[in-house]
Amino acid sequence: MMKITNLRVNVGGKEILKGVGLEVKPGEVVAVMGPNGSGKSTLAFALAGHPKYEIVKSKNSKVKSKNIELGGKVLDEMSPDERANEGLFLANQYPVAISGLTVNSFLYQLYKKRNPEGKGMKLIEFRAWIEKQAELLELNPDLLKRGLNDGFSGGEKKKLEILQLIVFNPKQVILDEIDSGLDVDALKRIAKTVALVAKQRKIGVLVITHYNRILKYLIPDRVIVLKGGLIVRSGTGELAVKIEKDGYKNEN
């Protein structure tokens, strides 16, 4: 389970998140919605441990802060790789390109990282398996021979994030506006894949989005509305439908 308690985050000295608390249980899907500038992406980066997103510590310095917990471990002081190794996976809105690092090689290194000590598939088995997974995502397997996200279209990048998610096999995933810039077919494919994988493997899903449309295929157990760095409302899937219709202006 991921537990966020009174999370306050500064970016460049400015407080963006002003005390956010929420929980995501294994296999549960929680949607975070909110207007531009509400702090949604800040939440994603702060959870993953990006150094620019600084957790504001409690004034009482005697108490060790416990703002972010995953599977009973406190992540607050951990570096991004340590958090990842606790089972946290961030699917990015803007995946970064690394030329010359082939997708195939990267994915296998990722697989080895998550399945150490000679367990699991050999390279040749892995290659066959990953091609199959790419096909299921409707991602052209030829892309696996290219540099990581290098010259990929928006849709291809997002699908590759999901392919990494499948290889990574996390406890908890954060989807940061994974639906932005996707055509309807790609959106559907990605959302359905995440829903299936999360259900099968009991992965907690925090899906950050502007729009209801992804939630039609990745059905949330709860919807949370973030505005001005605070949670202003929470409810069931109905809330997302209502927001799509009426906007955020009534959410206070």
Partner: protein, 476 residues
């Protein structure tokens, strides 16, 4: 270095040398024992030639080159060479008399690297300079038999001079005359070791010829001299050096490599140097390419204190093509001044230089290149791409491209990028569970991948692992 400026006043006999007298002074008593001594003078040059029982012309060639070496100024560009003490260098040591070092004397970091790379024990001893001989007779012997059946000559340069004197004389020093530069002159005076390859017309060698197989013949000497002749329509790939660090206490490595690519022939020459960081590595490499011929230099510089090396291609025949792929890694205390030169002398010739440099931990990497298109090189094209990756604030990268164009109808493209490892790239990879140094190594390996993929597989794997080790050291 100023020690060499007023040389004419120091030793009159050096400048009064005349070839006529030489042949009388040349013969040595049978029981002459060569005593290795530091420093260079005419006597040492004569002794080197005598020890090798060389033909007279070579002895004369050496002595003439020695004079040129004294007269030539130090290069007025590139790296700082003031640390070279020419008087404190052994210019020739008989292979059998090489004093063997003790394994205990090999620096711990180098030993550690051997272990991490999984280098076999026998090779470790050789690379660490502990053993002068590397037991590879079996591999080497069968390879040589196969090659000689195809009419290929592949032997040490010293051996070639004795066995094939006419062939050597026809080509030796013809692309890199001893007057070319101070270090080419030095090599011409004191050269020892190196490879000689002749590939007959139409013969294509399907496996790379590696100096590694014959390192027992003192190939990786300080002043090696390599000569490769690829006759019409033939092909050869020669690989020199190795990715594992070579520990040596010799502080100067100054080689000369000359390559003749005849009509329709192709030669690929791959070098990976990883000298220990006390070495000045000053090498002159040049190829002459005839009509429809192709020359490819693949040049990797990882080690040494200072490297100055600009493999050159002279495109003398129509439609000849030259290619230089260069990768340099400059770490703490290192200056890699590398690049390439393409000289277009005939029409419809093409060339391409791709240079990738990485500087880290205060290292300095420079790209220095020349594209020259002479009158008559009409309809020629050249493309230069140099990319630099700087890993930290204390490191430095420079680019010194020179273009000389005397023909109108030509195309020259130049692209250069300088980049730093971005925080976003690091975060992205770290958020996948990779430690910072692993993430850095992934980015660096990706950066040099276009060149690494051209290397023979065992080299590319070892190079990737070396980069990983270096990153581990830079972060941790």
């Amino acid at each position: 270095m100023t020690r060499f400026a007023p040389i004419k006043d120091t030793k009159p006999e050096d400048t009064n040398y005349s070839p006529g007298e030489y042949k009388y002074g040349f013969s040595m008593p049978e029981n002459y024992v060569f005593k290795a001594e530091r420093g260079l003078n005419e006597k040492v040059v004569r002794m080197i030639s005598a020890m090798k029982k060389e033909p007279l012309w070579m002895a004369e060639y050496r002595l003439h080159a020695y004079k040129l070496f004294l007269d030539k100024p130090m290069p007025d560009f590139g790296a700082d060479l003031s640390g070279i003490d020419f008087d404190n260098i052994f210019y020739y040591i008989k292979p059998s008399e090489r004093t063997e070092k003790k394994w205990e004397d090999v620096p711990a970091d180098i030993k550690n690297t051997y272990d991490r790379l999984g280098i076999p024990e026998a090779e470790k001893q050789y690379l660490g300079g502990v053993k002068a001989q590397y037991e590879s007779e079996v591999v080497y012997g069968s390879l040589i038999n196969r090659l000689s059946d195809m009419g290929i000559i592949f032997c040490g340069m010293d051996e070639a001079l004795i066995k094939y004197p006419e062939l050597v004389k026809e080509y030796f020093g013809k692309i890199i005359p001893s007057a070319d530069n101070k270090f080419a002159a030095l090599n011409s005076a004191v050269w020892s070791g190196g490879s000689f390859i002749y590939v007959p017309k139409g013969v294509k060698v399907d496996l790379p010829l590696q100096a590694y197989f014959r390192i027992n013949s003192a190939n990786m000497g300080q002043f090696e001299r390599t000569l490769i002749i690829v006759d019409e329509g033939a092909y050869v790939h020669y690989v020199e050096g190795c990715t594992a660090p070579i520990y040596t206490t010799d502080s100067l490595h100054s080689a000369v490599v000359e390559i003749f690519v005849k009509k329709n022939a192709r030669c690929r020459y791959t070098t990976i140097q990883n000298w220990s960081t006390n070495v000045y590595n000053l090498v002159t490499k040049r190829a002459r390419v005839e009509e429809d011929g192709v020359m490819e230099w693949i040049d990797g510089n990882l080690g040494s204190k200072v490297t100055m090396k600009y493999p050159a291609v002279f495109l003398v025949g129509k439609r000849a093509h030259g290619e230089i792929l260069s990768v340099a890694v400059a770490g703490n205390g290192q200056h890699q001044d590398a690049g390439g030169k393409c000289v277009h002398l005939a029409s419809d010739t093409t060339s391409r230089i791709i240079s990738k440099s990485i500087s880290l931990r205060g290292g300095r990497a420079s790209y220095r290149g020349l594209i020259r298109m002479n009158k008559g090189a009409s309809n020629s094209r050249s493309k230069v791409v140099c990319d630099a990756l700087i890993l930290d604030k204390t490191s430095r990268s420079d680019t010194y491209p020179v273009n000389k164009i005397d023909e109108n109808n030509v195309v020259l493209e130049h692209e250069a990028t300088v980049s730093k490892i971005g925080e976003e790239q690091l975060f992205y990879l770290m958020s996948r569970g990779f430690e910072e140094h692993e993430a850095e190594a992934m980015i660096v390996n990706g950066f040099i991948e276009p060149i690494v993929k051209e290397l023979p597989m065992e080299y590319s794997l070892e190079l990737n692992r070396l980069i990983n080790l270096q990153m581990e050291g830079s972060v941790g």
